[in-house]
Amino acid sequence: MAIALIALGSYAGHAFASCNPGRSSGVIGYWWDGWKRPASNIPNGNLGDTYSRILEASPYVESPSFDTTAWVMLTNGSGSYAQIGWYKVPNGARNVFMEYTDQNGNFHRSLGAPYPVGNFTPYEVWWDAGNQRLDFFAQNMLFGTAIRYFTIKEAQQSAETHTLDSQMPEGTNSHEEFTFSTVSNLAGSTYNFDGASGGLATVQITNATIQDAVRASTHTRIDTWDKACTN
């Protein structure tokens, strides 16, 4: 394997498209907006990869929160998963993050240098059968690997926040975009995330429709945004 020493570093630049929604502060919880695709709705009935080019956003993250993120994920649909995307904490630091669960149910998160706000970064989780491991890609580079301890039952792509007053990424005039979103089965055949036609294969996932919005605009793109913000 070629060893590539990448210049890494935490990015803590000025907030871009950051907006305090002005909701009640200090209300800790878990809010998400995105979509999911079960393996049962993919030809061959199995799943080995999910991919999306995600807009690098820099939303307002309220201080009692621990992070706001946007990611792609392979999961068993309950407590075991493998995901990668961007990650922002209340002090403004942004990073790429990957996260997975181990055989004991513990989670492990790894943070590395972020990609610039405003860019679209390809993020991908792939079951690498040749190497018998999960591969996590950012910008098509292998960010990390993990052993898989679960059966892959669905793909998810979502943004998430952890306090009520943290901004769901972007706003009414500029959405957080998951673009070119796909899933692939174990044979390596790739499909639109929302299915080849009709858009019936996926389910939107959200618990935040009062303050946030989520909308699938094409078979490969889903948008989320905070209703209280313009961008």
């Binding site: 394997m1 070629a2 060893i3 590539a4 020493l5 890494l8 570093g9 935490s10 803590a12 878990y30 998400w32 990869d49 991919y51 621990f66 992070d67 999961t75 309950s78 407590g79 075991s80 998963y81 904490v89 209340p90 002090n91 630091a93 990073n95 996260e99 181990d102 004991n104 149910g105 513990n106 989670f107 492990h108 998160r109 790894s110 943070l111 590395g112 240098a113 390809p122 991908e124 792939w126 040749g130 190497n131 018998q132 591969d135 098509n140 580079m141 292998l142 990390g144 690997t145 993990a146 052993i147 998810q156 979502s158 998430e160 952890h162 796909t182 692939s184 790739t190 996932i205 618990n207």
Partner: protein, 168 residues
């Protein structure tokens, strides 16, 4: 007076050798800065380091930035609350899992021969968690982080890689 038991003689000889060994080791430490053949963290279980694919070992490298600066950079990068311990070490991560097939390409175009890896000196800073959690997929149980680690570049002070999660 000079007639010692065999067992006692052996113990005295062993103590003598031990003293020589300690003195020799101390000399080596003073000359190279390397205190031992291994580096460990009291605040992080070795099984966790293995799980995340991080290996640390002694280094004779010098740091441009101070330990205090490294700890401050680590705290900010990881949004942490306090330092548990830190050590300057040789750090290695990124290729701990099975030997990759160099030409493997994922359906999305990701290539395994462009891995983000690191091998070199770093400040390993173990931090107190600021109450980080993981939620996993929507609907699953929330898990609290029990460890936070930051690898800081001893020349630039930048975050090389951060790790946090739950574990033994």
């Amino acid at each position: 007076m000079h007639k010692l038991t065999s067992g006692r003689s052996k113990r005295l000889i062993a103590v003598g050798f031990l003293g020589v060994a300690v003195a020799a080791t101390t000399s080596v430490v003073l000359l190279t800065g390397s205190a031992s053949s291994s580096v460990s963290l009291a605040s992080v279980d070795p099984r966790t380091l293995q799980e995340i694919g991080l290996r640390i070992s002694p280094t004779a490298s010098h740091s441009t930035i101070s330990q205090t600066v490294a700890e401050a950079r680590a705290s900010r990068a990881m949004n942490a609350r306090g330092v548990r311990e830190s050590v300057l070490a040789s750090c290695h991560f990124g290729d701990a899992l099975p030997t990759p097939q160099p030409n493997a390409v994922s359906p999305g175009g990701g290539r395994v021969d462009t891995a983000v890896t690191y091998g070199g000196p770093c400040w390993v800073v173990s931090l107190a968690t600021a109450g980080d959690y993981s939620n996993g997929p929507p609907g699953s149980a929330r898990m609290a982080a029990t460890y936070v680690l930051a690898l800081i570049d001893p020349q630039t002070g930048q975050l090389i890689r951060g790790f946090e999660g739950s574990g033994p």
